[in-house]
């Protein structure tokens, strides 16, 4: 319980510990704490930003998808239209071709018929002449009566 030199020894030791603590202990540790605080703040910030970015990206993806869907629909519609057009054109062409064929056939038929008629007519003329010869028992001068026979044949 005596007060003695110990008190001065204690003051010196105390001063040493405080100074050491102030120089070599406190600054690095509080520095690390502050830095960690900053890091955490930055991390939280980054997380927020990423969250925002994600929402934006989702929105963009949705709008992109909608746009592509619309484009696809437009393409399909256009294709349908074109297909219909092609079909119509083909139909039209077929119809024209058919008409052309029909006309050609008709012309040929007419031609054939004419030719047959001509043939018939000449045969008929010959038959008439032959018939007339038989009836008259005389020969008919084919050349002389050609004009008459022609006339007859034309009336047939």
């Amino acid at each position: 319980m005596n007060i003695n030199l110990t008190i001065i020894g204690q003051i010196i030791a105390f001063a040493f510990f405080v100074v050491f603590c102030m120089k070599y202990v406190w600054p690095p540790i509080t520095g690390a704490l502050a830095e960690r605080k900053k890091k955490i703040a930055e991390g939280l910030d980054a997380a927020d930003r990423a969250q925002r970015d994600l929402v934006l990206a989702q929105e963009k993806a949705m709008s992109d998808m909608r746009k592509s869907k619309e484009e696809a629909a437009a393409v399909i519609e256009q294709a349908n239209k074109r297909a219909n057009q092609i079909v119509d054109e083909a139909k039209e062409k077929a119809r024209e071709e058919a008409a052309r064929l029909v006309t050609a056939a008709q012309a040929e038929i007419d031609q054939e018929a004419n030719r047959a008629r001509e043939a018939l007519r000449s045969q008929v003329a010959a038959l008439v002449v032959a018939g007339a010869e038989k009836i008259l028992e005389a020969s008919v001068d084919a050349d002389a009566h050609a004009q008459l026979v022609e006339k007859l044949a034309a009336e047939l």
Binding site: M1, N2, I3, N4, L5, T6, I7, I8, G9, Q10, I11, A13, F14, A15, F16, F17, V18, F20, C21, M22, Y24, V25, W26, P27, P28, I29, T30, G31, A32, L33, E35, R36, K38, K39
Partner: protein, 280 residues
């Protein structure tokens, strides 16, 4: 131990410091009795107090320095975590009480808190272990074991607590003068609380108040720890099979006391220094 000597001898043995100093008759030597230690007067030193306090202070410095050197702002290890918890606790207290810019206050508060806590913690070491060990060591060196003293709780030595309190007192005076100037400091002592017409009364009141700060700081810590240690010593006088009945609750209670006393010393230091910075 108690069986070998009378109770009062046992108690006084436990309450005597290992004192080294200049004895008027024996010259430079270890005091053999409490009487001799007293006769040495001021020019003696309590070897045990110095040993334990400096040792514990070194432990504090070593542990915190180790963490400070490898302090990372990434994921902290368990020691760093522990140290950071203490530092943040101290920092919270300092920032809530002390609103001025001063790089000394927080490390000062940290040192006080941890150092006082460590010194107080020695109280929880069973009272006979370390003194017994010291006696054996003393015996090995040829000393009379009955005169080898070892007081392991530095804060039960008034010198230790007064030393710290005086250091704090010096800081109070230093910052008072630095912040307010000599005139401002003296004016604070002279013209408060009752104005200049009652100057002598103010001066008396303020000086007593000022001196009461270090004295109360030192005596509060010393008193608490001394009383606690005394009760441990008294419990140690009981028959060995009955000691735990009192020693266990008292030790558990003391865990609170040692922390609280360290905390109080720290907070009052911060408060006093904040008052020293305050300009009226």
């Amino acid at each position: 131990m108690a069986s070998e000597m009378t109770s009062s001898a046992y108690i006084s043995h436990h309450l005597t410091n290992l004192t080294f100093g200049a004895h008027p008759e024996n010259g430079l030597s270890f005091a053999q009795t409490a009487q001799e230690a007293a006769e040495m007067g001021f020019w003696a030193i309590h070897v045990d107090t110095m040993l334990w306090s400096v040792g514990l202070g070194m432990f504090f410095i070593w542990m915190f320095r180790k963490v400070a050197k490898t302090a990372t702002s990434g994921v902290p290890g368990s020691t760093q975590n522990f140290v950071e918890t203490i530092i943040e606790f101290v920092e919270d207290n300092v920032t809530s009480i002390f609103h001025y810019k001063n790089a000394l206050i927080a490390p000062l508060a940290l040192t006080i808190f941890v150092w006082v806590f460590l010194m107080n913690t020695m109280d929880l070491v069973p009272v006979d272990w370390l003194p017994f060990l010291a006696q054996k060591i003393g015996e090995a060196f040829g000393a009379d074991p009955h005169h080898v003293y070892m007081k392991v709780v530095p804060t039960t030595d008034i010198n230790a607590t007064l030393g710290m309190a005086f250091a704090v007192f010096a800081l109070i005076i230093y910052y008072s003068i630095k912040m307010k100037g000599v005139g401002g400091f003296l004016a604070e002592l002279a013209f408060q609380p009752l104005g200049k017409w009652l100057l002598p009364f103010n001066l008396f009141l303020e000086i007593v108040g000022l001196l009461a700060k270090p004295v109360s700081l030192a005596l509060r810590l010393f008193g608490n720890m001394y009383a606690g240690e005394m009760i441990f010593i008294l419990i140690a006088l009981l028959p060995f099979w009955a000691q735990w009945l009192l020693a266990v609750p008292w030790a558990i209670f003391h865990i609170l006391v040692i922390t609280l006393q360290a905390f109080i010393f720290m907070v009052l230091t911060i408060v006093y220094l904040a008052m020293a910075h305050e300009d009226h």
